[in-house]
Amino acid sequence: MNAGYGYTGKILLVDLSSGTIASETHDDVFYRTYLGGKGLVGYYLLREVPPRVDPLGPKNVLVFATGVLAGTNMPGFSRVVIGAKSPLTDGYGESEVGGSWGAELKRAGFDAIVIKGASSKPVYLEIVDGSARLVDASELWGLSTSDAEAEIARRVPKKPAVMSIGPAGERLVKFACIMQGDRNAAGRGGLGAVMGSKKLKAIAVSGSTKVKVKNPDGLSKVTSWFAQNFLKNAPSVALHEGGTAGLIPGLQAASMLPTKNFSRGRFDGWEGLAKLGQKWLYETKGRGCWACPIRCKRTFEVKDGSVKTINGMAACPEYETVASFGSNLCIDDPLTVLKANVYCNEMGLDTISAGVTIAFAMECVEKGLIDDGDLRRLEVKFGNASCVLPLLELITDRKGIGDLLAEGSMRAASRIGMGAEVFAMHVKGQELPMHDPRGKTGVGMGYALADYGADHMTAAHDPLFAKAGSYGLQTCAPLGLLEPVDPLSLNADKVRLYLYLEMWWDALKCLGACFFCVVPRGLLPVPMVVEAVAAGTGWDVSLWEIMKAGERAGCMARAFNTREGYGAERDQIPARLFESNGNYPGISKERFDAAIRQYYKMRGWDPVSGAPSRAKLDELGLYWVS
């Protein structure tokens, strides 16, 4: 093995069927090619998952991967990308999560973990300073994520960081998530169900070896600049003070606050929800991920016992959760949203998919498409806050109507039939996040094109690039984005803008970077990202090389889906988005479809099937990918 800087060079391989644990090493060329994070996920999924396997069967593979700066002092660069074949989309699945677990894994001596097979009884994986073992978890099965974490922490000598699933993952709820601590969720893709199918309750990691950095002075130049400047940067300050829940007033003002299952863009009760981004009934404190001074993860100090707390504190819901349990269900009560958030985190449910699936059920009731005892008893309808928690319990327990809803909105709709499909707001089976693409069409392209199903974190959003001299254009000039683009357009300039931004974010996903720390959503300028990677690894790396790694990772995700037998036909947004939201007109389907086709061509993919061409795969060095 080449002695690495930044990366450890070691990947942990765990086979749960046989109970064997091994590791493999890679050299500099491998890391410069795949970089880490999303790149490693794509590499291992293509190498290890045979085509068309059952996502909840033993042949699926679960990958946890960090970037080359994880565990260093670099703020926001210790995120973990988790991947597997998704039970929600039946294709490439990916989700990112913050916290300190990625840093601990690096400090324990590994860049990534690849988990194959399935255990016959519940286990957890314990990794302490270079050694790993599987431990019986029969007593932990059934526990909530925070209870399981607390129990595991008692057993490991040095406090570990823990990724765990809750009862929802154990019961294979299709949108079960993986939690890191009580507030960091790898929410999307149903990866918690994959972990549950493998009977893997948790992965606890504890490491004490400092990550080797080639040029410590070069790296600390970047980190000190960040520490000195983030409080002068408007987006960072907004996150520092209000967390993402602080977005509510702005999205309401912009008529892009998803309301009533995405039929409207404004919600009359928004002021109640906006309290979650302010100093509200309870005192609030900011908490953060490894080495990040922004500390955007806010916490409520709940004194009246109305919500389950950990050391007296409850995690504040993120914006996505506030809108999905709030405006999109026409609910204005912040306490219901806070409780739903804590419940989902404890049980291991993705708050976006859970909320959107409940919105789907509410609309089906309204339209008279389903009639069921549970739905009647709980008075499931838009605006009724009292039905949310009981519905979440039924979903987690897979009881009554909950068993149907636990399949997610796409599968529930096809079982209900009678045209219920049009009320299921999903792409490729994954529910829409809380951004209305009618006011920013690039976000709609992201929803359609994301290989892992609808997501809002595929590329920075259009409004940042609306005006000459805007923050987005000032900071993204090094990416070749020099002129304003209308947020509502779908012309060639929009496709190019989306494509470059997506490649940049895929590159950041390979680096395990938090978008809130890096331009155009945050502070760290493009050249400083390159400088930090160079300082950490010692490579004579360039922006070109990093962008190519992003493009490669995006291509591998697409190639995975091509191998699964699908492409362009699933790059579709729900028909409701072609209708007005009351303030913005609907997106033009014709122009949207043309933009998607143009995107394939710009990427060197087949304009009809959307599959990467042989030449493109070869250009990216992916000769081995068929």
């Binding site: 907004a238 996150l239 977005l247 007033p249 702005g250 003002a253 892009m256 996505e320 923050y471 959503r521």
Partner: protein, 88 residues
């Protein structure tokens, strides 16, 4: 030019400007809310006086309705300015 408008009774014409979504970080005194004596001035001019980079402003509301940055302020107006609204 620092025009201050007065009513017939001699009172100053006041408007409230709220800096939303972290924009107050760019205001020299870090204020979230500023009362300006500004009737007759455009929002753009008021923001320039507050030394706020106008290009960072994506959306302007006056008394709850969207308005252009060239909107001329009147006594009692409440203005909210927002940066680009993005994901998270």
């Amino acid at each position: 030019m620092n025009r201050v408008f007065r009513s017939l009774k001699g009172e100053e014409m006041k408007a409230i400007v709220r800096l939303m979504g972290g924009l107050h970080a760019l205001e020299p005194h870090g204020r979230n809310e500023v009362t300006v004596t500004a009737e007759g001035l455009t929002i753009q001019r008021v923001l320039e006086r507050l030394s706020l980079p106008v290009n960072y402003v994506y959306l302007v509301l006056v008394n709850g309705g969207t308005a252009a940055i060239e909107h001329v302020l009147r006594d009692g107006d409440t203005v909210e300015v927002y940066p680009p609204i993005c994901g998270g």
